[in-house]
Symmetry: C2
Subunit: 255 residues, 2 copies
């Protein structure tokens, strides 16, 4: 384990597919690192519908891939991995590994929302089933917590339907029974891409908490200074069709 974390120059970012590129965007904007090594397990995406043992097995395989590079730290951008695989990953690495759930909970804490606020947690089936967001939020003193796994959000985003009637009927399907929340945790890297539609669904336009932004704040609080790098190079790898991932990266990082 490296002790001086401020020297980090190369960060690894792992996701089941393209979703983690929303985290990349934030890391690039904050210029923490000279280089990002991104690995998407596109041959086995999605993880969020798989069970904990499978997710952990796949994450450990990805960790071996990252050992080919001299990375200073690893971020598991995938919430499903963050929910289930962190202890096993940390037991097998000699660099720090950060998930996105604790940073998301910390961002809620820093939001200044009162403890009577209604919190809606959105995540994949695997993330919600782990209960990790819910426990973290309850530990902050919030008691009005709803957790929903809107499984169709991921394929809807992957189909590029960032607005329109399919997205609207999908939002309606998962949200129609809910009391409008004061804050929504976007507990899956795909969800920031439909953030505006999620916020606009609720008449009170709740506060949204993004994993990507949250991890940037969290890294800063851990001693990684933003703005240190002149620019951040991005190297993209995938378990299948890296060119498809690279063109998604070009498109999404512009958005």
């Amino acid at each position: 384990m490296k002790t001086d974390r401020t020297i980090g120059r190369r960060i690894g970012i792992f996701d089941s597919g393209a979703g983690g590129l929303t985290v990349v965007r934030s890391i690039v904007e904050h210029r923490f690192f000279d280089e990002i090594v991104y690995y998407g397990d596109t041959a086995r995406v999605p993880y969020g519908t798989k069970d904990a043992a499978t997710i952990t097995r796949y994450a450990l395989e990805a960790l071996e891939f990252f050992k080919n590079f001299d990375i200073d730290l690893l971020v598991t951008a995938c919430n499903s991995v963050s929910a289930h695989a962190l202890p096993d990953l940390r037991a097998n690495a000699d660099f720090p590994i950060y998930g996105v759930i604790d940073p998301g909970v910390l961002a809620l804490k820093n939001s200044g929302l009162g403890k009577e606020a209604r919190i809606l947690v959105l995540g994949t089936r695997a993330t919600i089933a782990s209960g990790r967001y819910q426990r973290g939020i309850r530990a902050l003193g919030y008691t009005r917590i709803e957790a929903v796994a809107p499984s169709l959000f991921v394929p809807v985003v992957e189909e590029g339907l960032f607005d329109g009637p399919v997205l609207q009927s999908t939002l309606e399907h998962y949200f129609k029974e809910l009391t409008p929340p004061d804050a929504v945790i976007l507990g899956c890297t795909h969800f920031p891409l439909i953030a505006e539609a999620i916020r606009n669904y609720f008449p009170n336009r709740p506060l949204l908490i993004h994993s990507g932004e949250a991890i940037a704040e969290h890294l800063e609080s851990e001693g990684y200074p933003p703005g240190r790098a002149k620019k951040t190079d991005l190297k993209i790898f995938a378990s299948e069709n890296p060119n498809a991932l690279k063109s998604i990266a070009k498109r999404w990082l512009k958005r």
Copy 2:
């Protein structure tokens, strides 16, 4: 390669996940075999969004699993596997292997539809990109062929939304530009579960061709007599969470 195909007692059925259970239902109803060994690669589902090399690699791994059983033949219920992996599978097995695309094309041929009929092929991205249905149908003399990859149908079915507004807006998204077809090829094992909604979308209620039914007819034409078995035992295996697959099987086989 066994020469007397009428002796088949044990059939292997392979699918990426639960979808192939629609094929199981048809094989059970026709009582061709004493035993079905079903294997669903639930840890890596879906296949239809993956590329040809990945699909072939996964199918070859599944083939090794089936070699643990003394199966007389193997059906790849997954259209994406049938579209891309059959030559490699056949080169590595000493039992016959059937896909579902040729049977589907044969069922269209046997339908008696005139050559001026409009044919709509529905399948995953991988199946449609292979062009195998389109070439087979063109070889029958049909010229009015549309091929569409409605990628959201699989997750919508997996979410259990067999009717209602999400399914309707999804049908509308993929079908609104189409001239109503005379026949629809359901080129993915998930699609029979929303067959009625697909037919009802078009005012002319087109003929639907199911992979599951088609493979049963095809096996009969290959010399496997239906009604031979008193009853068909079903053994279910999965690369993750076999119990979930077993409970889906109970539910779907009743429908």
